[in-house]
């Protein structure tokens, strides 16, 4: 291997694609874990179909997993440098994600006439034009794997499941990495099945050695630069797991039991799946009979004193609307996690979008304000879940946390904090036997009411969806309704006094201000950084606090001649900002394809705006 020419690069994007069930998600995860453990920064993005196992060898059944490794990674990357296509269907559907000149590894054994036709090709797809555009490696993955399986006496099914290891072995060679980390993983994962460990290791090694013998790619070996990250202890984490852990941390810090009432829904399910594992940390998870029962059980748990949460995705949030109004009315703390996906209706369940913003802000009957915050990376889902819980408990209000399929399923390096170092959380608990307790007596600063829990002596009271007066009883008095409505709004507005100012990055003296929110910060950050490195002046501000907005938002927006609001919907945040700051004209860059932004398209848009 020492004779091979090794190219040094800052970053590299690899996309694994195959039939659902070919183990592409696992290959991708193993590669990203091994990369992280050997010092690279990483970000991953699984791109899988809504069907669990669509018909074999069809485009509908292609499952992809993109890994971006390098020294400083913001996103899972645009197009890939290396594509692995385990069958003709994945080659057909995924080639568009490969850069020109990319190395494309295909399992040549799968390119039978039948499979080629099933993928939708009229004829064998390989031709001179393709060969000129890409370095195509036709690897005999199935047959080589089968030989090893046969030699070890493994059954056909077990052997077939190892094909992904052959491809992974090739990738390890191409990225100048060793196999030890993955060996260790296999030994752990299949500790009780030594035969399976042996087989997987052999196939992995065979893939590596096969690549080593292949002169075609010897000029393609890449050594990716190590990450320069703040010191600390790190791990890889997906957004959904980070969200679950953030809630656990908030429960521990606030001293309130964690309750999650949820119903399975893609792509939010993993939040519930993760928390269900952690009864030992006091997580009380309830899989409800439907979305409505999910949030209603959480509201009941909140009434009884828990840090109550529900997790869902687009259509599930629609079902929770009425109960959210109840939570606003009874002024109880509640965290609603919405892992957004393509909508409306069932829409694109496995694809990402930011199109639930309007629903989060306005989707209730009556005047029903609540706090909306958004996470902006897989790893910071931890902090935004924590913040959502803190705001809910301290301001006695429901909070919607918006993440999305890209953040939730994608993964990133996470610098592990100490729970004790996280900001304190002080729930607004009432004092038992307080003679002055009134259900809707408010803190003069925050306007939050006090939380009197069933079981506490001397604080018996009733709450409900009907309008109440400050002392607690029902009231249909017109002035009282006006007052209570204003107070509920004021309480949410005053949250702005407790959140940090909005920051501007990039070149603050630029003419163009790029505005983003939520899960798009990776691509936006990189696009703005590259533009400024290229000598163009671009400023950038990214919103996590959506409602209320940071107090200096207007000051920032009014400073720039040109503003472009970039979001994965048809302009919901832009519309929201326009109602707040009608004096600021705003351009929009919108993408509604179920896909994250690409740096290239963003730069094209910004360049065009700069030249206008």
């Amino acid at each position: 291997m020492s004779e091979n020419q090794i190219v040094n690069k800052d970053d590299l994007v690899i996309r694994f694609a195959g039939d659902s069930g070919d183990g592409m998600q696992l290959s991708g995860t193993l590669f990203s874990d091994a990369s992280a453990l050997t010092g690279n920064d990483i970000a991953t993005f699984p791109d899988y179909p809504a069907e669990i196992r669509a018909p074999h060898n069809t485009v509908a059944g292609v499952s992809g997993y993109q890994v971006h490794v390098g020294s400083h990674i913001y996103s899972s990357g645009d197009k890939c440098d290396i594509l692995v296509a385990m069958n003709p269907a994945s080659f057909k559907s995924q080639l568009k994600w490969a850069k020109k000149g990319a190395t494309v590894i295909v399992d040549m054994d799968t390119f039978t006439d039948e499979a080629i036709e099933k993928a939708g090709y009229k004829e064998n797809p390989f031709n001179d034009e393709l060969e000129r555009a890409y370095t195509i490696v036709r690897a005999p993955i199935t047959s080589f794997t089968a030989k090893i399986g046969e030699a070890q006496g493994a059954d056909k099914k077990t052997t077939e499941k190892c094909r992904n290891m052959f491809a992974l072995g090739m990738i390890f060679f191409l990225t100048h990495k060793t196999l030890e980390k993955t060996f260790a993983y296999l030994e752990r994962k299949f500790a009780k099945k030594p035969d399976v460990v042996k087989l997987n290791k052999a196939v992995l090694t065979e893939g590596y050695e096969y690549a080593d013998k292949l002169e075609l790619i010897h000029s393609k070996i890449v050594e990716v630069a190590h990450a320069e990250m703040p010191s600390g202890r790190y791990r890889n984490i997906t957004g959904n797991v980070a969200t679950a852990w953030g809630l656990l941390a908030a429960s521990e810090r606030s001293g309130r039991r964690l309750f999650l009432g949820s119903y399975p829904i893609t792509p939010a399910t993993d939040v519930m799946v993760e928390l269900a594992k952690h009864k030992s940390l006091g997580a009380r998870v309830f899989q409800a009979e439907d979305e409505i029962a999910g949030i209603c059980s959480a509201i009941g748990a909140s009434f009884a004193g828990a840090l109550a949460c529900t997790s869902t995705s687009g259509p599930g949030l629609s079902l929770k609307s009425e109960a959210l109004g109840l939570a606003v009315m009874v002024e109880l703390p509640l965290v609603v996690v919405d892992v957004q996906r393509g909508g409306p209706s069932t829409g694109l369940p496995t694809k990402t979008e930011q199109s639930d913003l309007a629903q989060a802000l306005y989707g209730r009957n009556g005047e029903a304000p609540l706090i909306v915050v958004a996470a902006s990376s897989s790893a910071n889902c931890f902090y935004w879940a924590y913040t959502a819980a803190k705001l809910a408990l301290e301001h006695m209000t429901p909070v919607i946390l918006l993440t999305d399929g890209y953040l939730g399923n994608g993964s990133q390096l996470f610098r592990i904090p100490k729970v004790a170092d996280l900001p304190a959380i002080t729930p607004r608990l009432a004092k038992p036997n307080d003679p002055n307790y009134r259900p809707f007596r408010r803190d003069p600063e925050t306007y939050a009411r006090e939380w009197a829990l069933p079981g506490m002596e001397g604080l018996r009271h009733r709450v409900g969806g009907l309008e109440k007066c400050p002392d607690g009883p029902l009231s249909t008095d017109p002035e009282n309704h006006a007052l209570m409505t204003k107070n509920r709004q004021e309480k949410v507005d005053r949250v702005a006094n407790y959140i940090p100012d909005q920051e501007v990055t990039g070149n603050p003296d630029a003419d163009l201000l790029v505005v983003g929110w939520g899960g798009t910060s990776g691509a936006l950050t990189l696009a703005v950084e590259e533009m400024n490195n290229e000598g163009k002046k671009v400023a950038y501000t990214h919103f996590n606090y959506i409602c209320p907005l940071p107090k200096n938002t207007g000051d920032i927006l009014r400073k720039y001649k040109k503003i472009v609001v970039c979001e994965l919907n048809n302009g919901q945040f832009a519309g929201y900002l326009r109602t707040k700051f009608p004096e600021c004209p705003m351009h929009q860059y919108n993408k509604i394809m179920g896909l994250p932004f690409e740096v290239g398209e963003l730069k094209e848009c910004f360049n065009k705006l700069l030249s206008e």
Partner: protein, 343 residues
């Protein structure tokens, strides 16, 4: 599995007045709800539960105003969702005695899903269904229990909806406790509510209630004093199923179905009459008893009361086991678990 009780008992001797709130009761004069409220207020002192530990949860409808009239913690929620909210209350704090009050539309139309699932899980809730066979608060539309063919505001030509029988829903959902009572027999209502409170798991009490404004006398065919003894039977565990003004009628199973027989006629003696066993696990007989009506008397009293570990206990057992023996003791343990590395 050893049986656990989560709601602490108190030695305080409460009276009905201790549970009566200061709020004005705003139901129509003569509404059956007044009597049910009174029976409920008489029930609480018998349960020996600290009043701070009692939580009343209701949905929407006339009957769902009840939390305002009881001096405990209360939650008047949204239409149909009382069981779901109550489930969360109990899961968050199993030491609370949680009561759910709903009407027939609230519990079996908009809230039907939550009702059957709360029952299926055997969550420890005391559920009372006020069944007046009509939507009263919206002024007289047919409900899921309105009699077939009845003319209401939304069925001017008679309903073509076959009604639910709440007892059958309970049995179908593998319920462990079902009792039926009449608003006009408060002693029986208090008695079955007390039994419901003692039951570990989901208990359902159906109260046949009169709405004198929009469905007056809907239960009159069985509740009128003149016919009540012949049209109803109060079941008591371990006792023969005897009813009638003369106490000479009884129920027996003829091999195919239940039938009403008269003791002393056709050679029938007391030994031919079935003995009520509320504890039979199989729902067959209880389903038949709950179904009775028409030629057979409507069954009142505790029809089914079966021991089955409650969701509350199963949940707390798992929690305790994991808290004691689980892998992680604090969130820092979890954050640092698995593959981590120092930079």
């Amino acid at each position: 599995m050893s049986e656990r009780h989560f709601v602490p008992k108190t030695d305080v001797e409460y009276t009905k007045a201790d549970f009566t709130s200061d709020q004005m009761v705003k139901w129509c004069p003569g509404c059956g709800d007044h009597a049910i409220l009174s029976s409920l207020l008489n029930t609480f002192p018998k349960t020996h539960t600290k009043k701070e530990n009692v939580v009343m949860v209701s949905g929407i409808g006339c009957s769902s105003r009840i939390p305002y009239y009881v001096d405990t913690y209360g939650f008047h929620s949204i239409h149909g969702r009382a069981c779901a909210i109550a489930t969360g209350v109990k899961l968050a704090n199993p030491a609370l005695s949680v009561w759910v009050n709903m009407g027939d539309g609230d519990s079996m139309a908009i809230g039907g899903n939550h009702l059957i699932h709360a029952i299926r899980r055997n969550q420890d809730l005391n559920i009372t269904i006020f069944n007046n066979e009509i939507y009263g608060l919206t002024k007289g539309q047919y409900s899921p229990t309105t009699k077939f063919g009845q003319v209401t505001k939304t069925s001017p030509y008679g309903t073509i909806d076959y009604p639910f029988n709440p007892g059958e829903l309970v049995m179908g959902a593998q319920g462990t406790f079902f009792a039926r009572t009449l608003d006009c027999v408060p002693a029986l209502t208090t008695d079955v509510m007390t039994r419901a409170a003692q039951h570990d798991g989901a208990s359902v009490v159906e109260v046949l209630q009169n709405c004198m404004i929009f469905n007056d006398k809907t239960h009159a065919a069985i509740t009128d004093r003149a016919v009540r003894d012949d049209r109803t039977i109060v079941l008591e565990h371990g006792k023969p199923m005897i009813y009638g003004k003369e106490k000479n009628k009884g129920l027996r199973f003829n091999g195919r179905q239940l039938e009403s027989v008269t003791i002393g006629e056709n050679g029938i003696t007391i030994d031919d009459i079935m003995i009520h066993d509320e504890t039979i696990e199989d729902t067959g007989i209880h389903m038949m008893l709950a179904h009775m009506g028409g030629d057979l008397p409507v069954a009142l009293g505790v029809i089914r009361n079966v021991k089955k570990t409650s969701y509350t206990q199963l949940y707390e057992d798992q929690m305790d086991e994991q808290m004691a023996n689980g892998k992680y003791k604090c969130v820092d343990d979890l954050l640092n678990s698995g593959d981590t590395w120092e930079v």
